[in-house]
Symmetry: C2
Subunit: 414 residues, 2 copies
């Protein structure tokens, strides 16, 4: 058990804060997807998003086959508790061209995956059979169709196997191939522009830059978009100059489907990005009641959505997951994605202010969720320490050890 | 609640089965990592694995700064419950080159992220301050250092920030940049050969191929390796011919760090892959007590590890996650990775044979884990339906509705 005490950041009073859910649901309503489609090879489709339902071209299995190595026969051949069947000399192997007919009272040796020959509807495991020259014997403890797979039991030709909007995973590629697909219709990948702003930002640190900040956000955000399967576009860095930011946004809106900026999203006099989005674009939300991530602009510029992230990398990262993931999902054709979560007992206690949603850097240890030793949003190292986020709801006042909290893991099996 | 009844596949009796954990721990001991290192740019390092510990070149923050927009002053200037401080005309913005000295009794306006000028150790939020021409007033409800971030509070120059073996995520790239790194040492990506075997396998389906199977495994396995950050190498398909398989393995072992084969891993007479691995290579394990995935060969060929997967795509997929993920982790330099899991109440009931571990295709609905309507390992569509796997331990006999089961999600936040 740990107690978190170094929360040195006060929450301003007397201003209007938009709840996270309100901001999200307004965004969901206001955004639309405008991507074109293309045809691509199934084998190169990992991470692309289906632009149409996919229909099976071939049943899977194409023919009935055996799930085991054994002996195939007609179930009606069985006559009592112990059975003797004539053994046909042939052996049916997967893919073999042998066409054989198995009459009632006979059996044929057949190997896993081989199509059932005419006359066979049931397979007995080889381990359960005694082979006696031209006969086999086994106890009749078997059901009709045992150890076999019916033609089309997995997929029937002509049926929808994958729906429009699916982001293709490795297992979906397996299914597409098995169902006879070679080419599929997908959306062009979402082009996500990443722009850093602020006089304090430098790409390279020189000795005289004692009060400058290295641009951690741009490469971090670029790689998030890459990992999500999008096409990140590096828009570089601009200083706090209204005209330069305007020019950059004008250019970017021509080549990007959505733009993420970081920095300049606070209420300070130098925050040209947010003021510009308000005066020249459309600003949907301004102060979202969440921590980290208080200064967050959600806007549009010449019809291109702009997400104005805080300059702080921790806040920028969390806001990108919470807002950017569903927004990019919607704009990419995948649809509004929900963040996957699990209820996990907390290994910590913590007091929380009501009225805002909080995200904590967390990991699981011995089945319990623990949190980073500091909630300070300047602590980038906490993002690397973490393996997921905990989301605490607006009305929550405290977390006690053992309370279930909502944990969202960063990574999964595949 | 659903009951699963269509388990038409019997488990052979009277043979020796290796428990999953035994196979895994033997493999862990027998495998070694042999990859070379390289230097790469931090911005291109997503998914690479650190070949050495990384030391911070710069502290983060480099200088003490303010976490909010407000007024900075020396804490010792505060004298009572209500305070009046002289307001300095300057404004300190992030990255500005203004060097100002703030004497005791004075305050300076300062914006989020700006370095604290000399004399300032505490910042009061602008919302809590009344500005009166050349003075500001506020109630003294503030701690020393409030709303500030100390130099190096996140990372100190010279300390280890990321450990050898880490697979680099977007947030790690953020940390590396913030800590002044431009280049890092990583391992060359693991080269993973993917080979399909079997006379029944075709890449393209013609009308006369009524009893052939389309090669779903190869593109599926290639894309798993791609998604895991490895370099998949397409070794194509070979028919069940001992000499051709031997030639292929000889070639492949020259250019791959590990080889995954699928098909030919059963006990049937046509299973050249497993017999060849036994006669010409080293076979570690043969019959692993798990479902799906009974025929699984774990071997080496001219010192290159070979994972002989079942031909069945469902079994091949599950075995790749359960065995392939930790094996590739170890061989890639990341180390033996544990599959992340969560305990989730079951929405199904199921009887289970003891003595083997079972993996079920699953997803979460309303906080409970549900399973695919069929456990048949021919059902590839179940892999696409699923969002994770449930692992049932060897000694378990049944699952009741509401029992906690071990759920392993396929995907995460980022």
């Amino acid at each position: 058990m740990k107690k978190n005490t170094d929360n040195n950041m006060a929450f301003p009073r007397g201003t209007t804060w938009t709840p996270v859910e309100t901001a999200l649901s307004d965004l969901k309503k206001s955004l639309t997807m405008n991507l074109k489609c293309q045809k691509i090879d199934v084998s190169n489709s990992l991470g692309f998003i289906l632009s149409e339902d996919v229909f099976a071209k071939r049943s899977n299995p194409h023919m009935a086959n055996t799930a085991v190595d054994g002996f195939g026969f007609a179930f009606k051949s069985l006559i009592g508790p112990k059975n003797f069947l004539n053994l046909i000399a042939e052996q049916i192997t997967p893919g073999s061209d042998i066409i054989c007919d198995v009459p009632k009272g006979s059996a044929v040796r057949i190997l896993t995956g081989a199509s059932l020959p005419s006359g066979v509807d049931t397979v007995v495991l080889q381990e359960e059979v005694t082979v006696l020259e031209n006969k086999i014997s086994f106890d009749c403890n078997i059901k009709r169709g045992e150890n076999t797979r019916k033609a089309g039991e997995d997929v029937k030709a002509g049926e929808v196997i994958l729906k429009k909007g699916l982001r293709i995973r490795p297992q979906d590629i397996g299914l597409l191939v098995a169902a006879g697909l070679k080419e599929i219709g997908v959306y062009l990948p979402l082009r996500v522009g990443i722009l850093s702003t602020g006089n304090e930002i430098v790409e390279k640190f020189n000795d005289q830059d004692f009060n400058k900040t290295l641009d951690a956000n741009r490469p971090m955000l670029m790689s998030i978009m890459k990992k999500w399967g999008y096409k990140p576009i590096d828009l570089g860095h601009v200083v706090d100059d209204k005209h330069r930011i305007r020019d950059k946004l004008n250019q970017a809106s021509q080549v990007c489907d959505v733009i993420f900026t970081s920095g300049g999203a606070s209420t300070g006099k130098e925050d040209h990005v947010s003021r510009l989005l308000k005066s020249d674009g459309h600003l949907y939300h301004w102060k979202v009641a969440m921590k980290p991530g208080r200064p967050l602009a959600l806007a549009s510029w010449k019809k291109t959505p702009v997400i104005g992230l805080p300059g702080n990398p921790v806040a920028a990262f969390v806001c990108t997951l919470v807002f950017g993931k569903p927004i990019c999902g919607l704009l990419s054709g995948e649809g509004w994605v929900q963040l996957g979560s699990f209820n996990i007992p907390a290994s910590f206690s913590k007091a929380k202010k009501t009225g805002r949603r909080e995200y904590l850097r967390a990991k699981i240890k011995d089945g319990r969720a623990e949190i980073f030793h500091s909630e300070g949003s300047g602590r980038i190292s906490g993002l690397s320490w973490a393996e997921g986020l905990i989301e605490l709801p607006e009305d929550l006042e405290k977390v006690k050890v053992g309370d279930l909290v909502k944990y969202m893991p960063f990574s999964g099996l595949v």
